[in-house]
């Protein structure tokens, strides 16, 4: 251990500087989509319980606003944020500057124009009505071109890495970069280019939705968690030898879960059964990730709370475990006869996309933006508002949808209750969802205000002094590692 640690090179401002322009552009786009997407979500949610609201205008009928809101959040906020954080993280962990980053700005432009065209298509009536694949064909090509540019840059950066080791975050990032385009192309092909027969379309659709969450958003979120937890706490991941097993296990099982979205549907019964069985197996992967991340965090919760990034990231990991347990419990047909075809499914998806992925992204953004722009977040109060609004808001939205879904299922399964009464009962829960969404929006506004303030405020006088060089991670501190050396 006598070789000179190249840590100075690792933290070199050069790497951050090389990612600055594309990452900042992507993040600004992401935040604008986040705010407009949550406005659309609130509009759709209000329409769900007050059907007359804006119903005269065909563009703003519920059946179009709702998919538009989903697409704005997933493809607008989700992908832009994931691109930004992945590119930065990959450059950092590969200890290699991002080359020709200017091209990535073109990719960002393509992506965002594609999403905008797609949204316009949905609102003007070109929606396909297939969940998360609503965008019309003309937007799809743009998205694919833009995506492949981002992915190629990320993978090229990885292959030029200056480190011998590939860290857990990098496995997840590399996987996500590879999986999404295949998922997207295959789903587009089997649904629209050469449509599969009958209910096979539904199977492909659910496989895509689950794959999008399980093979893209969860890996990106976990890569950020695996990076920031040891980075900020200064402790290596506990039981790190479990991390590869956890990785392979999770990414094998997660896409199969799509079947559980078809319980009771007119498909060959082995399809939903595969999903339910995958739900049991999910627990093993969750255990590995939980042992890794919470094993590291355990005993340092004060420091987690003191750190903005970790408060978001660790909340995201906690939501992930919660989601997994719920997924396993509700997959069991005998336990949850009430849940299929109710609001509960949407609640679980909120928990996954917002609770796990978005929280991890917020945490990462709070860490990386000051380093890129060499400016500090101006208001701790706004940060705190954001965290509270986000954590409470997502708990409220997901909780309301899951509990409301349970009640809805109970009523639907009781034929003595007329359908209009079921709808009335549901509308009260939907109103509560609107409140939860507004809470989330407050958080987004706080976030945007803080960012705007940061951008307007001048560059800090001694920018270098703002970010102290980090310490070395103590090697071989884990006692059991020493044992294995002997």
């Amino acid at each position: 251990m006598t070789e000179t640690p190249p840590s100075q090179r690792a933290e070199q401002a050069g790497i951050d500087a090389s990612t600055k322009v594309p990452v900042a552009v992507l993040l600004v786009c992401a935040l604008l989509w986040l705010v407009s997407g949550s406005a659309l979500q609130i509009l759709a949610s209000i329409q769900a319980h007050s059907p007359a609201f804006l119903s005269n205008c065909e563009w703003f009928t519920f059946g179009r606003v709702y998919p538009a809101a989903q697409n704005a959040l997933i493809y607008g906020w989700g992908f832009n944020a994931a691109f930004a954080v992945s590119l930065w993280l990959m450059a950092r962990l590969s200890c290699a500057a991002l080359r020709h980053g200017g091209w990535l700005v073109a990719a960002a432009v393509f992506w965002n124009v594609g999403v905008k065209l797609g949204m316009l298509g949905i609102l003007t009536g070109a929606s396909t009505s297939v969940a998360l694949l609503e965008m019309p064909r003309f937007a799809v090509l743009l998205l694919l071109v833009a995506y492949s540019m981002v992915a190629v840059w990320g993978v090229a950066n990885f292959s030029q890495r200056n480190t011998g080791h590939a860290y857990a975050s990098q496995w997840y990032l590399l996987g996500a970069a590879f999986w999404f385009p295949w998922l997207y192309i295959l789903a587009q092909g089997m649904l629209f280019v050469a449509p599969a027969r009958g209910v096979m379309q539904a199977i492909v659709g659910e496989w895509y939705v689950q794959g999008l969450y399980g093979l893209f958003f969860i890996p990106v979120a976990l890569s950020s968690a695996y990076y920031f937890v040891p980075k900020i706490l200064g402790q290596p991941i506990r039981h790190y030898f479990l991390a590869p097993a956890g990785f392979w296990w999770l990414v094998t099982v997660l896409p199969l879960l799509g079947g559980s979205r078809l319980v009771g549907a007119p498909v060959p019964v082995w399809v939903p059964t595969t999903g339910v069985a995958a739900g049991f197996l999910l627990l093993v992967g969750l255990l590995a990730v939980g042992l890794n991340l919470f094993g590291t965090v355990a005993g340092s919760f004060d420091r987690v709370r003191a750190s903005t990034t970790l408060s978001f990231v660790v909340a995201g990991v906690a939501f992930f475990l919660l989601w997994g347990v719920l997924q396993c419990a509700t997959a069991l047909r005998s336990v949850a006869a009430h849940l299929p075809l109710t609001l509960a499914r949407e609640g679980q998806d909120w928990l996954l996309f917002y609770g796990v992925f978005s929280m991890a992204m917020f945490g990462a953004i709070y860490f990386l933006l000051p380093r890129l722009l060499l400016r500090a977040w101006p208001s701790a109060m706004l940060v705190w508002t954001h965290w509270v609004a986000a954590a409470l808001g997502v708990l409220m939205v997901a909780g309301v949808l899951i509990l409301g879904g349970w009640r809805q299922g109970e009523l639907l399964n009781n034929p003595a209750v007329p359908f209009t009464e079921v709808a009335q009962a549901v509308s009260a829960w939907l109103a509560a969802r609107s409140v939860g969404l507004m809470l989330l929006a407050i958080g987004h506004i706080a976030f945007l205000l803080n960012l705007g303030w940061m951008l307007c405020a001048g560059r800090a006088a001694n920018a270098g002094g703002l970010i102290p060089p980090p310490a070395e991670l103590p090697l071989a501190k884990e006692p059991r590692w020493q044992e294995s050396q002997t």
Binding site: A48, E58, S127, S129, A166, P266, P268, V269
Partner: protein, 230 residues
């Protein structure tokens, strides 16, 4: 985990597994599902939707009906206490969502093979529509509902679709398609071609043919209780 190529191959393998073990077998099974030839009168079931109904499917997609309505009579069999005995029942049957109220059956995969787009749906904020064609006597009743749902069911959560209709001055005789809704004097409310296509699509939604193979394969051992329960 340090070898980039091995990592890449593993990652590709994971995807190939999820595709090959899940999607491919299902595609193989369902792709071979064809129309059923009735042994008695040699008719083929299900039959393809007529042209206007197929166009209506596009309207159904563009208006996003699928975000509130499902199109599947579920398999779910629940049990409940009835006269001191546990009896099986299917809530969808009792809500009259099955095509044939006397001999109800769940939806089967074969019902959908002629649908260009399949809208199974994810959530039931509105009633199931798979057999809506058996519940509405004609398109006028559907138009009335689409135009102003709250006039048909007071607390309906369905958004009005007045933009599918056109208010125009009556020229000559009143149109036969005109809706029985209040209109300005000298005017009538008539459905646009899109509304007509949508109505044709909805009225065509009915699975009344019972496939003997499927019925046999999905009958529960407790079917006797189920029969007695009705």
């Amino acid at each position: 985990m340090n070898n980039g190529l091995a990592l890449f191959l593993g990652v590709a393998g994971v995807f190939a597994f999820s595709w090959g073990a899940f999607i491919l077998p299902a595609h193989w099974q369902l792709g071979r599902l064809g129309q059923y030839r009735d042994p008695v009168d040699e008719t083929l079931h299900p039959s393809a939707a007529p042209g206007l109904a197929a166009q209506g499917g596009e309207v159904y997609a563009d208006l996003g009906c699928v975000y509130c309505h499902t199109q599947q009579v579920r398999q779910t069999t629940l049990t409940r206490l009835k006269e001191g005995k546990r009896a099986a029942f299917n809530p969808d049957f009792e809500r009259k969502w099955a095509g044939d109220a006397n001999q109800p059956r769940p939806s089967y995969a074969r019902d959908y093979i002629q649908d260009r787009r399949v809208f199974l749906g994810q959530v039931r904020l509105g009633p199931d529509l798979r057999n809506v064609g058996t519940r509405f006597p004609d398109d006028q009743a559907l138009y009335k509902l689409l135009f102003e749902p709250q006039a048909v069911t007071k607390d309906s959560l369905m958004p009005p679709h007045a933009f599918l209709f056109e208010t125009r001055p009556i020229v000559g005789e009143r149109s036969a398609k005109a809706l029985a809704v209040p209109a300005p004097p000298g005017c009538e409310v008539v459905p646009t071609p899109r509304a007509e296509a949508l109505a044709a699509y909805l009225l065509n939604l009915k699975d009344t043919y019972d496939y003997p193979e499927e019925r046999r394969r999905n009958m529960l051992p407790s079917a006797a209780i189920l029969e007695g329960d009705r």
